[in-house]
Amino acid sequence: MKQKLLPWLLGVGLLVLALAAPLLLQNQQYWLFIATQAYFWAMLAASWALLAGYAGQFSFGHIAFMAIAAYASGIVGRDLGWSPLSGIIFGVLLSGFVGLVIGWLCLRLRRTYLALFTIAFAEIFRLMVNAELDMTGGPMGLYMDPLLNTTSYIPYYYIMLALLLASLGFMYWLANSHFGLFFRSIREDEEAAAAMGVHVVRYKIMAFVVTSMIAGLAGAVDHHFIGFIAPTELIIGRMSLVIAMAVIGGIESLLGAALGAILIHFALEWLQEIPVPAGLMPNLIALAPTLEKFGLGVGDRGLVTNAWRMVGFGILLMLTLRFWRNGLIHPLIERMFRAEARKETVAKRMQAVQTQEQEEVES
């Protein structure tokens, strides 16, 4: 019994921490901001995990869906005077619609072709955004109305947290329902799934629509918070980041992907400037010229890593794929929950069957 309590305690603890964070970080608007961004990435990573890990659709267009909603919302706000809320709803629906179209186009594409096609789609979208200056502001970006009239990050923090929890909850419900069964059967073997009566077309497209809407929701809301969006957010490196987060967290685990995204985002922020003890700072400063040759730097508090922290994650991504296919975070969650659950459930099920039989005999 004790073993089962631990993961629940941890979970509740994390939740409490998340809810209380703004109070704890009162003066650190910066970290609050990072947290809202972490939740943004978590929504992207978790929804991508649902699409790729659960339904087996390795789409590289996820960031594009995120941006479609954001740009759409920004544009209707700017040109039609729509409120951010209306814009967000519109953007999410538009992302869903494009998701439907892409899902439909991809129906007959097998895994590698699907990856290539969605990369092409993402690239075409990026090119269009860059080219259509009048509509999108081109490389210079698009300003977006703030969602709320406040300079504090706290309300936004709670909004993003709420959206993350809501979308995780929704996706969990999906995954545990027959949708999840069908998604996974499609991932495992489409033809066999069809032979078992699964409406493969409908559920494949549904996977695209649902996940693109969640990505769109994250994108539209977050960018009404930040107030600005630019095509640099559409480069393939950002898609790689989502993938890295989902893979490292656990591609077949929504919670794993979300936690992975949050941890990685915080880590990337923290790693931007690795703090060095005050005593060693003079040594570091002395090394500055050499460090600069390698693209590193010295800041006020320590070592400035620039692009190198991403290099680290690239390596981590490749190693995780090679040695820990199920991710780094997911196995931990699994170990805590499943071991007990699995032993229990067979017995439980047999029990349920026997009880039912007894009831039938008695009636």
């Binding site: 027959h178 069964l181 069908f182 996974r184 059967s185 991932r187 495992e188 073997d189 033809e191 066999a192 799934a193 069809a194 032979a195 078992m196 009566g197 699964v198 409406h199 493969v200 077309v201 077949e252 699995r342 459930t345 067979v346 099920r349 047999m350 349920a352 069957v353 039912q356 039989e357």
Partner: protein, 261 residues
């Protein structure tokens, strides 16, 4: 009454004529064996019946409805189930989940737990109920075969096509599969058994269809068909050929055989 009516089905791929005017009708719970040399078109026929392939011409009617143009999942839902030559269980899903997929596909509004009882009963009959919460990939080959058979039953099919159910199967497992076929048959289901295992075919089938080069060269009582010269030639004739996509049958046409799997 169950009725599967195959009307003059042709199927060609590019230059290859895989099915050449195949016609037959299954009524009621017949246990039909389908045999033929390799490359004769048995799997192609199965793919056409289950909807994976569409006939180039001809029609397939099932229980009074034309089905050859329907997508596979709709044919499955109407009660035509099939297995594949290579077992295709959903590997990264549990055995129980494998069972639930067809059940939920047929009844999406239901809850998974509504089918636990039926699933566990079938699994118990197939002696793999203890693996219910294991991932299908941890099952042995034989167990996976049984899982596929169990999974089929969750579709509540009228017609079951088994594609090489005896291939590479050890005697104990063979017994179980025979039992499955007999019991399900008694419950009123029709079977189409595709196999190179002649002993099993002749033990189980009430009726024998023989396919060769996409044509149905025999259709009738197994004991009669066995002596049909066209059938004998189809099997023996190919041994004299040097080329061609056909292979020597895995087992002799009649006689005892051993199997070590």
């Amino acid at each position: 009454m169950i009725e599967l009516d195959v009307r003059n089905v042709y199927k060609s791929f590019g230059g290859v004529q895989a099915l050449n005017g195949v016609s037959f009708k299954i009524e009621g719970n017949q246990l039909v064996g389908l045999i033929g040399p390799n490359g004769a078109g048995k799997t192609t026929l199965t793919n056409v019946l289950s909807g994976i392939l569409k006939p180039t011409s001809g029609e397939v009617w099932f229980n009074g409805e034309r089905v050859d143009k329907l997508p596979p999942y709709q044919i499955a839902r109407r009660g035509l189930g099939r297995t594949f030559q290579v077992t295709r269980a959903f590997r990264r899903m549990t055995v129980l989940e494998n069972m639930l997929v067809p059940a939920m596909a047929l009844h999406p509004a239901s809850r998974k737990r509504d089918f636990y009882k039926k699933a566990m009963e079938i699994l118990e009959f197939l002696t793999i109920e203890h693996m219910a919460n294991e991932y299908a990939r941890s099952l042995s080959g034989g167990q996976q075969k049984l899982l596929e058979l169990g999974r089929l039953l969750m579709l509540d099919p009228d017609v079951i096509i088994l594609d090489e159910p005896f291939a590479g199967v050890h005697p104990k497992l063979m017994e179980k599969i025979y039992e499955y076929i007999r019991i399900v048959h008694e419950q009123g289901k029709a079977f189409i058994l595709i196999s190179h295992d002649m002993e099993s075919i002749f033990t189980l089938s009430e009726r024998l269809l023989v396919l060769n080069f996409g044509e149905l060269i025999a259709d009738g009582d197994p004991q009669v068909v066995k002596h049909d010269p066209a059938v004998i030639e189809a099997y023996l004739g190919e041994e004299e050929e040097e080329e061609g996509p056909v292979a020597i049958p895995a087992r002799p046409v009649a006689g005892p055989e051993e199997n070590d799997a």
